[in-house]
Subunit: 341 residues, 4 copies
């Protein structure tokens, strides 16, 4: 068994990791950490889940020696603090915050916080599994992608790879369930405020914008400029990204669908769907579902991508990366069964 | 008192008209019609509302003679059928379906139904009050705008009037509450399906697309091409349109906000807001709330428009038009009090 | 105009008072207080509402002299603190917290806080309008009833008045929308937790239990023992109380309905309904809707009561009491138009 | 592999069976039937699920010969029609409708339909697994319990077994998610109506009332009279039953909790919980979670039971029964992982 530690187990990503790992035949959680809730028993934190007998401990690097994998399910800024103490740790680190995703100056600009050291950041491999699998296979540090960044990048990359769309006319309108805003209490996520509401937030300033542009550049060499608007919805889980792009070649809708299908033909977690998109086809699973439509009137394509922000957009992709890293079947222990209703 | 008849009083728009008119000091409903539910008492249809003693009657043109105003709150296609029988009616007709909005061929293309006669259509004045007030003042036939068309047009028109944005790069991502899909039972609106879901629909084929483009042309002379994606949300009421446009001049965000504020300075139902947009600021009222943001990185503007699809997007704007038509205070009887929580 | 002050205007009850008073032709808010948010302009707190130019001030008794009415829309415990400073205030005080509802020892037991002085408490009149109208008419201090207590008492009192049900076999299962839990941030009201959930709370310890029993005794002389279970629902507004009682006489269901109808025949805000109950018939209005059913198999009656917890259960009833107190039409400015859809 | 057929695979219970069986290592669906949708491919019906290559067939008894198990996931009345054609079928039948639950006259009274033949009904074993395991082990016909009946019976039976509560003072207030109302389109389940609403239905007439009373009698010998009120909630899944009972002996709350814990100590799917109940602890799993509280003031107990109406209340319990019937581990393939957030 691969032994795993989770730092930040009280948050949503930590909880989801716990659920996924408990269903995974080769992984086992042996250490759960939380500075704020140290001393609490895991079974008291999650009385509705089979959690075993672990107790939350404060983060201490010296306790990590036994672990094969350490998941940092901590907020950005907090991860950075722990990362600086992990030099001696010999296992695999998977960071689910954004603290290893961007290089120093870009990070500082978009997160408004101090970045980790440049050489620490450079050690991290970006864990967008489908596009960086070979690097993940040997990585010691894995920077798990952001939820919006995952949905958007998976939808755009096949089109940008061969220069099939204009890189400066990418308009993404995306929406996320409430868990995307995290577990911390806030006015925006008070039920009476968020219910029966749509809240647009971080307009032109969402930190996944540079992450998407950097990913596009890293994977395709293209310098793209992406407009992203993010809407908070009164649902618990799920991201839908509706992307409006301008093709550089003339093809039928069927040809575009074929192109997308071919790009992901081998992928266990990417499905090219037809019919009208809905967020539920992916929620509860590790799938990313994609659709593409051609507007014959305007010439534009509409690409739609949906994921479960807690699974493919966070804990699920983290496990997928661990599966790749340890040579397991990539789908091991992951859900291919959306909740749907 | 101005006497009003409502055809299609069992639908959502009919219900909302009934509610609004009951709060209006100068309007009175004296006749309610419904072919499907004729014979039913209004008080049995809406036991939770003060409705008076009316009984639903089948549509018969000869019964309409006493009416000052006839509201057609019937679905597209159904309105058309009734419209052909209204030649002798001397009062004001307000049609809330799309049957008087588009000229014949365009209508046939987008609605997939037979249009009304060209001269009937030509008699109708498009009731986007803020932009067509003078025509509404003397109209006998008023074609009430569509819900998405209202939200989008009110947001775009001030920018298109003076050629301040590129007319062919208008990308609108919009979402609507479930009432936008109507009262008819459907799989898409079964609670277990729509709840915790986002459903993208009528991709590149929504009938409000040509309505928006025609309105832009009618009000500004500009030939624009609009991309519109429409998402069905698990909320009851409200439309949010997030519009991505490319400005032709260089101005600060503050200057753009000022421009918008000046455009609507006199308008009782349009508010230019600041802060982060949410759909709730307008829901329950006849307001259209607008925001504009500049993305210094991409040069694009994001314009956001929210309305209550049942009020400003349907019954509220219909009453607003009647107020204009009869010379009342334009806000008479209309709500300026959003529900919010 | 009757000048009104609101203490605690940042909370839900304060916000609802503001909305209702702005629609009231004889009341005017001239002073808004909040210790936590003093200095904030009302228009910044509620940018979606027409609020005028008021600024929030800290609570100071000496500023209240100009006011005809002071609403305390503060939490229990906080109201008590302000009440002790209101000896010199000559206007009418309406307290929406529970701090004036119970006598000292009972208050201390159920609220776990220090009660107000016994003689202060004794000055307050219990504002269950329909049952205490004559006392409200001349009251200087009005203790506004709790939300559950309003729904339950209005349903039970007609049956207890003449000893028609067993006073010790009253089982009430009630549920409330999320606003009932207040605006303060809490785990229970984080959207991701409360959404798609039902949470049972304060089992056998809800502070409205003694309030209901005391009201029954005060209005009917009967010593009743009430079991109340309270469920938090993923909706914004509304209370439904489903009450199971044992009749002492044998009557048909129709006779029970008639009895209830007669009891409230003159009441502008109480409706005896038929058909299947739903919470929406009252939400958005000041109505209390009641139903009664007889189970011929068990002999029991099921009485159902629904209200909007923010209106009839809080701010609406407060205004109703002010209307009575100042001799206005009791329904003045209050909503008789449920939102419904 | 045990081969399974599902009749009524287009409904919610059929869909859930399909999901559960696809995760079950020993069961396999080899035949799916639906009279209304025959000819449709399963993969077109559920494009979001891994369904394999089956096509929906019309119900024909002669096609069933190869099957080990036939699930009837059809509505009441429809199941009855199929049941009459299953005399020759030699496999195990699991009926999820109510058509095998009640004897003829009682069925006719509560369902308002013609019952199946008395000897057919008599062959069926009531599949409340925890209380009828030995009979299920050898059953050919299994009548799967109703959702409310499951939640209520599991909560009450330990208390009735030894006469610890009054059998004629059992008051149950229960609520269900919208899937409980089925997939058929109806006004009550149109999102705009059910959302932000609570709807009380089938008052004193719910067909699970006689099922509960019959189960109590069958399992404990006690003749009980149960009052049940059922509320439809704006959530997708889950039942909470809040039960008010009168104990016949005097014990502390801790002793009552112990009693309940002992009763179910060996059960893999029943958990006695502490803290405040919520519906989410069970939703997404096959658990039934129970709580019990003592009200020292009234002497009453409050027993709370929550289940996922689609799992333990329908398809989950059906699989649990099949596991028992075929000698598998009772929990095989079933979920012990609630969705929670």
């Amino acid at each position: 068994m691969i032994t795993c530690g989770i730092v930040g187990v009280t948050g949503y990503a930590g909880m989801e990791l716990l659920k996924l790992i408990s269903a995974h035949p080769r992984l086992q959680v042996t250490c759960v950490m939380s500075d704020s809730s140290a001393g609490l028993r895991l079974s008291d934190l999650y009385p509705w889940m089979e959690t075993g007998a672990l107790t939350l401990e404060p983060f201490k690097p010296e306790k990590l020696n036994q672990l094969d994998v350490l998941f940092l399910a901590t907020p950005s800024g907090v991860s950075a603090r722990y990362i600086e103490q992990l030099d001696a740790f010999e296992g695999v680190v998977v960071d689910l915050s954004g603290d290893l995703r961007l290089t120093g100056e870009v990070y500082a600009t978009w997160y408004g916080k101090a970045p980790v050291h440049a050489d620490t950041q450079a050690k991290a491999v970006y864990g967008l599994t489908e596009w960086n699998r070979e690097s993940v296979r040997t990585a010691r540090w894995i920077s798990n992608p952001g939820c919006y960044a995952t949905a958007v990048s998976l939808g755009l990359l096949p089109f940008l790879t061969d220069g099939l769309i204009e890189p400066d006319e990418v308009i993404v309108s995306a929406c996320s369930g409430i868990t995307g805003a995290g577990k911390a209490l806030s006015t925006k996520t008070h039920h009476a405020r968020s219910n029966e509401n749509v809240q647009l937030y971080k307009i032109h300033t969402h930190q996944h914008i540079p992450e998407i542009e950097q990913t596009i550049h890293q994977m395709t060499g293209v310098e793209a400029t992406v407009s992203l608007s993010t809407h908070l919805l009164p649902i618990n889980r799920g991201i839908m990204a509706t992307m409006h792009v301008v093709p550089t070649i003339d093809q039928t809708e069927t040809e575009w669908i074929d192109l997308l299908s071919r790009a992901y033909r081998q992928e266990p977690f990417i499905r090219v769907q037809q019919g009208e998109p809905e967020i539920r086809t992916a929620v509860g699973s590790n799938y990313c579902d994609l659709w593409v439509y051609k507007d014959d009137r305007t010439g534009r394509l509409t690409i739609v991508s949906v994921i479960d922000n807690m699974q493919k957009g966070a804990a699920g992709q983290a496990i997928q990366n661990v599966n790749v890293r340890f040579g397991f079947n990539e789908a091991l222990g992951l859900s291919t069964q959306p909740q749907y209703i």
